[in-house]
Amino acid sequence: MNRGPYALRRALKGMSEYQFLAVATISVIATVLLLLGAFAIVLTNLSGVLDRWGKDVQISCYLQENIGDAGVFRLKAELETMSEVAAVTYVSKDEALQQFGNSIEGLDRILADLDTNPLPASLEVRLLPAFQRPEQVAQVAESLERPEFQALDYSHEWVERYHNFLSLLRLSALVLGTLLLAAAVFLVGNTIRLAIYARRDELAIVALVGGTKWFARLPFLVEGALQGLLGGLVSLILLRLLHQYAFLEVQDSLGMALGPDLMVFLPTPALVALLAAGLAVGLLGAWTSVARSREEAL
């Protein structure tokens, strides 16, 4: 029937009649979502970095000096058949020297003066994404052992530590996010209860003239939902600004070291989720306070 439009009109009117309370509710929701969003941006980017470095998880197999081209070719083919292996590249002694020379400014000139090339040739083994967890890398490395290799090398400690750090971060994000959302529901519930208290006459009069419970409550729920959505929207805008002016600054100073697209903005699903969280918090806050307020007997 026309209960929906009525509720919407009432909700809008209620928000304009009690602007202070509306602004308070929207601010609380926006602040919480902003914190969550900022955290999500940091998290997204950190796992992005891990993913990229994960692609770089390579096991360098340094070859003995006396293995000929045929031997190298046979070894390379053998490693490539392994199910964990994505690709194997051969790096000759000369290439190794060149890469090493390029890694530090001016080093190539120093190296050019050497009589002999001290660097071994190597097979660089890149693993499939499914086998890049630290313990798996160690396992694969073990199975790569051959007499033709003088040494195996991979940066396991670092990857492991990074992984642990990231799990910790995810866990704390979960805990913090839950706490924040619960606090938001509580705060929103309280501000809406204030709004209801300010308008308790309305609930009583609606009851007196024969309005059902839902007729009286629906405007408050709509109001909560609207404020939640608005809070979500405000948080998105602030997040965008924060990203633009704070995070990208960080990228400018660190970007070279950490990779080109550090500090990306949140993906669309995450933005939608943020809006949905605002809606849910607003609705839940309104619900908890409306359910607790009984229309007082007249």
Partner: protein, 281 residues
């Protein structure tokens, strides 16, 4: 139309407010409920619009025990009633017209219908030109008229008014009471007015139900009042006789025109549930 059968109301905190009350009102009757402060007048009215439930006994409207009404059906009962409460609460931030319209909006009427009926109701109480004012911009009497307009806008068959002239001066009080009495004539509504305003009680030749300490201590019919015979015994036997008297009591039934049978909606409060209601959220 309205019957109290051996009704006792005990408030948990303050004790007995009404005791063994036997009382009935006919359709189209106008009656004052009177008695000193704390006598139980408001409680009696609250039992009728189901804001309170009797501790024992039964309250019947058109044969239905509203004292046992499911809480979900209470709204439909009230849509069939007009209630003016003691402090005639209006919504302070809404105009006169919006305050009156609320009683129709809860029924889900179309805006056009609402506008038209609100206009008619405001016309009826003489507030046509004040439709767009806020309650704070009205005098006490005008506020009271607004509350009455809200009570009559859905053409109820029962109007309950609790001290409708509570803090108004004499002239305004006559005005308001006259309005209610006229409504009784016009709409053939049953109207109960709680008041302890002696001037009003003496001025109108209508039934007077007297309460004291929660007990019925007198029930003076309009004609008896005119004849000057004051007290009317209220033993159970005689009460039962009184119930059977089909004759009109009070002077409001004099011109019995057909009561317009147009309700805001065909919803019947006697229906236990409205299926559309729960679905709307």
């Amino acid at each position: 139309m309205i019957q109290f059968r051996d009704v006792t109301k005990v408030y948990r905190k303050t004790g007995t407010a009404l005791e063994a009350l036997d009382l009935s009102f006919d359709e189209g009757e106008f009656a004052f409920i009177t008695g000193p402060s704390g006598a139980g007048k408001t409680t009696l009215l609250k039992l009728l619009y189901a804001a309170e439930r009797p501790s024992s006994g039964e309250v019947l409207i058109e044969g239905r025990a509203i004292s046992r009404l499911h809480p979900r059906s209470v709204p439909w009962l009230r849509r069939n009633m007009g209630v003016v409460i003691q402090d005639f609460r209006l919504l302070p931030r809404r105009t006169v017209a919006e305050n009156v319209a609320l009683a129709l909006e809860v029924c889900g009427l179309k805006q056009a219908d609402i506008q038209q009926r609100v206009h008619a109701a405001l016309d009826r109480v003489g507030l046509r030109d004040m439709a767009n004012r806020l309650p704070t911009e009205l005098s006490g009497g005008e506020q009271q008229r607004t509350a009455i307009a809200r009570a009559i806008v859905n053409e109820p068959s029962i109007i309950l008014a609790d001290e409708p002239t509570g803090n108004l001066d004499q002239e305004l009080s006559f005005d308001i009471m006259g309005l209610l009495v006229d409504l009784c004539h016009e709409k053939r509504a049953t109207i109960l007015v709680a008041t302890h305003d002696r001037n009003q009680l003496d001025a109108w030749n209508v039934r007077e139900v007297q309460l004291a300490d929660g007990r019925l201590v007198g029930d003076v019919l309009a004609d008896e009042k005119a004849n000057g015979s004051n007290r009317r015994p209220t033993t159970e036997v005689e009460q039962a006789e009184a119930d059977e008297q089909p004759q009109a009591q009070g002077d409001c039934i004099a011109n019995q025109e057909e009561r317009p049978d147009s309700r805001p909606e065909d919803e019947d409060w006697q229906a236990q549930e409205d299926p559309g209601e729960e679905a709307s959220i």
